[in-house]
């Protein structure tokens, strides 16, 4: 099981590979759409890659609730538990 720090680092890596954004910019309080300018297709790609990386399921209806990077980290941490 990954710690919250490891989940954040893993997400930052996925976001960087998908969008080119600096990994350091992927912070817990950042909004995927407003701060990181991630569109819906990129968001779904990030979700699918996060599912694979952290071996969790992130249901489609849950994705709209993942507004910030912190929301995603918390969801993944809980799903792993």
């Amino acid at each position: 099981m990954a710690s919250n720090e490891e989940i954040l680092a893993g997400l930052a890596e996925i976001v960087n590979s998908e969008t080119g954004l600096d990994e350091a910019d992927v912070q817990l309080d950042k909004s995927f759409t407003e701060d990181l300018d991630i569109d819906s297709i990129s968001m779904m790609t990030i979700v699918v890659e996060a599912e694979e990386k952290f071996e969790v399921k992130i249901p489609d209806e849950e994705v709209k609730n993942l507004k910030t990077v912190g929301d995603a980290v918390n969801f993944i941490a809980a799903a792993q538990a």
């Binding site: 960087n16 590979s17 998908e18 080119g20 297709i41 790609t45 699918v48 599912e51 694979e52």
Partner: protein, 416 residues
């Protein structure tokens, strides 16, 4: 009223013998082979009957950013690399363009085959959830045209001619029409292909279209040679900026050549075999010359389709003879697939780039591996050294491309 003249003001290419136009041209004059054994694990895994190909000299992953390559099929990556080079070469400035008069005609023969088949593997191995949301825009054959139009902000339409190995040349034909008709002032035309994947290799092998000279890849592509045994799969892209002459002159652009005429015909003979008498190709040649008000004696150079298949090379000779008559004895013919293999839907675009450079520099590129010329194809082929084209007067080069399905496309490129 005379139709608008269309000129070529920018060139781009990424090919097995050069990742940009200067390198491509240098090597095309030198005579090198881009073919080499494939080092991919899948060659052994599937025990492919053909174990070599002509990979692009510079992979797009070395040039584009990671997010770009992740969102684009390799065919689209090649297209974007070549189009960016052509755009920069033209000196056009995006912000000064009337976007609605800037169009794209970017061809492909096969489209996003890597994306399609990778997604199929993913579906079978990991299930539908793992099939990424960008799969559809990446696999669609209009992907290269769409990506180039996005990159340039071209809002005047993005077309995707698909006619197998004639596609790239057909894109030139489409671009010419768009400018002549006044629908566009500038068109980015080209072709891209990235099909060095085990499935297309197996499929082309099973129809015995590919050379099996596995022990000597550099000698495998040998158009017009008596020992030719098939084509060599290549990959890459070519791109040309076509521009209305008055638009180019107004901005003081460097003009490589005029795209003087073009034609597309169909054999209506057989799905893969060319018409043995080259009738469709003859009609395409004659129509392109008529379109450009070109007489046989104006023609000094042909970049031939010449793929190196036993059945394909000869009907093209027959067609050239019918269209050019005795003038054919004075025409320098280059079979550049001998060097870079067959780039399928990109080949017509790359070969048009070479034709533009040939009339601009008055030099024709070299054909390699012609050790023993087929006596049934008595063409004057450029071998050894590049051929010097007439230093004075107006000269014309023809570029032929033919595709499965009986597609014939010809463009005529004239010096200015």
């Amino acid at each position: 009223m005379m139709a608008r003249k269309v000129v070529i003001t920018g060139l781009g290419a990424t090919t097995p013998i050069g990742g940009d136009v200067p390198t491509l041209w240098e090597n095309a004059l030198k005579g090198v082979s881009g073919a080499a054994p494939l080092e991919d694990d899948w060659v052994k895994e599937y025990d492919l009957p053909v174990t070599f190909a002509a990979r692009a000299a510079v992979q797009p992953t070395e040039v584009l950013t990671r997010p770009e390559t992740k969102r684009m099929d390799p065919s689209t990556q090649f297209a974007v690399v070549a189009a960016r080079e052509a755009w920069a070469d033209s000196g056009l400035v995006k912000e000064e363009m009337d976007q609605n008069k800037l169009a794209v005609a970017f061809a492909t023969g096969i489209g996003g085959v890597w994306t399609l088949l990778n997604a199929w593997d993913t579906l079978r191995e990991k299930g539908p959830r793992r099939v990424l949301p960008m799969t559809v825009p990446m696999l669609m054959p209009n992907g290269p045209a769409a990506a180039v139009s996005l990159d340039l902000g071209a809002a005047g339409g993005a077309h995707t001619p698909v006619s197998a190995c004639a596609s790239g040349t057909e894109a030139m034909h489409v671009g010419l029409d768009l400018i002549r008709s006044g629908k566009a002032d500038v068109v980015m035309v080209g072709g891209a292909e990235a099909a060095i994947h085990p499935m297309p290799l197996a499929a082309f092998s099973s129809m015995h279209a590919l050379s099996r000279r596995n022990d000597d890849p550099a000698k495998a592509s040998r158009p017009y040679d008596v020992d030719r045994d098939g084509f060599v799969m290549g990959e890459g892209a070519g791109a040309l900026v076509l521009e209305a002459e008055e638009h180019a002159i107004a901005r003081g652009a460097r003009i490589y050549a005029e795209l003087a005429g073009s034609s597309v015909t169909s054999d209506a003979h057989h799905i893969t075999a060319p018409d043995p008498d080259g009738l469709g190709a003859t009609r395409a040649l004659k129509a392109a010359m008529f379109d450009g008000r070109i007489q046989p004696e104006d023609v000094v150079h042909v970049n031939a389709h010449a793929t190196s298949t036993p059945v394909g090379d000869k009907p093209e000779y027959t067609a050239l003879k019918s269209a050019l008559g005795d003038q054919l004895d004075n025409v320098w013919v280059s079979a550049t697939k001998s060097q870079m293999g067959h780039l399928l839907g990109a080949s017509g675009a790359v070969e048009s780039v070479l034709c533009a450079l040939a009339v601009y520099n008055r030099k024709a590129p070299v054909t390699i591996n012609l050790d023993n010329q087929d006596p049934e194809i008595p063409l004057k082929v450029v071998t050894g050294e590049p051929a010097q084209l007439p230093a004075e007067g107006t000269i014309v080069a023809l570029n032929n491309s033919f595709g499965f399905g009986g597609h014939n496309a010809v463009v005529a490129i004239r010096s200015v």
